[in-house]
């Protein structure tokens, strides 16, 4: 089986910039709005997310191609994928609590919530539906995580700066975050039309 490098790079660029999972596809917004207040926490969340989504892509690919497809059970993809992802996140949570309690405390409720973060499920379902090869799936999963981390870090840096600014009371918090996200998304639209491979 030959590996098409251009296609791989194309998938990565598309997932990180052109169809950024946050700014173009609106995925993972709950965590995006909720956790983008402190830079180190945002970085931790971005890394955790990248790890989970990459691993989920690696786990769900054989599940889909060796179990669901041969038995014509493709319609079970939602149920089976979410179960696998939930088990895996539980494992990561255990691991982080053991080895980095400070990060565990800072991430709080958001770590278990990665299970119900749409980025992970969406990326794995997208891999299955587009019939990507194993390597392409892993690259797409990894890039989805990187795209999410990038968006989170950008957003957090801007919000940290705005902490001291004087803004109307009604705009404080979430409304302002949405407006910033809108402007960032406008900037990311500059990437549209960029295709490789």
């Amino acid at each position: 089986m030959e590996i098409n490098i251009t296609r791989i790079i194309g998938i990565a660029v598309a997932a990180i910039f052109v169809n950024n999972f946050v700014f173009a596809r609106f995925l993972g917004l709950c965590a995006f709005i909720g956790i983008s207040k402190k830079l180190d926490v945002a970085l931790g969340m971005g890394v955790a997310m990248t790890f989970v989504v990459t691993m989920s892509a690696i786990i769900t690919w054989p599940l889909y191609h060796f179990i669901l497809v041969p038995y014509k059970l493709e319609y079970m993809n939602i149920i089976s994928f979410i179960l696998v992802i939930a088990c895996f996140v539980q494992l990561v949570e255990f691991f982080v609590r053991k080895f980095n309690p400070a990060l565990y405390k800072a991430l709080g409720i958001y770590l278990p919530l990665i299970t119900v973060n749409c980025v992970v499920l969406f990326a794995t379902l997208l891999n299955a539906i587009n019939n990507l090869s194993f390597l392409e799936s892993v690259v797409q999963g990894f890039s989805a995580g990187i795209g999410f981390a990038l968006a989170l870090v950008l957003m957090t840096s801007i919000r940290e700066r705005l902490e001291l600014a004087r803004i109307p009371a009604a705009m404080q918090g979430a409304p302002l975050a949405f407006i910033i996200a809108g402007l960032l998304s406008l900037a990311f639209m500059g990437f549209s039309g960029l295709t490789i491979g």
Partner: protein, 207 residues
Amino acid sequence: MKTTLTCLKKCFANGMCAENPTFRLMLGLCPTLAVTVSAENGFGIGIAALFVLLGSNTIISLIKNFVPAEVRIPCYILVIATFVTIVKLVLQAYLPALYERLGLFVDIMVVNCIILGRAEAFASKNPVLPSIADALGMGLGFTLAAGVIGSIREILGNGTWFGVPVLGAWFKPVIAMILPPGAFITIGLLIAGLNAVTARLQARQSE
């Protein structure tokens, strides 16, 4: 009988206004923003979510006493995933055009925080009837929010409402409104507006 009725009414109204899932709790934002490029899509995803909520809240409220607390979340997710699969298959069979447009966003309703949130916060602690009322209130509240955002974006971005032209020929559609930035800015301004109105109402009440 009368007390239960007022209680049901309260559960219902709670989801529609005081704890509107989109504008107040800010839950389930991904589908609210992603698919609401038109009023039809907005109401479509809202009704799909309403159905899933009704099903999952009813079943979870029925099984709450048999499910051990440690494994409740995976169980709830399984129940929700089942209903989402049903909705998806029904949409594919009867409304293929709508399903085509909503696409994977129907699938990822499994991980919609409104649905899991209501299962955990309400259905797992309350009897069946209030759970159904809660599902109706939350589902309609979500439908309303998605419908309003969809309508605003369709009218400004395309000059139409449900596909019917509502603004005259003089109107130049603002394309950005149906592109991603429009969604973020619309919801940001809507929440800010609601905040301002609530603050003013509270100030008047305390006077």
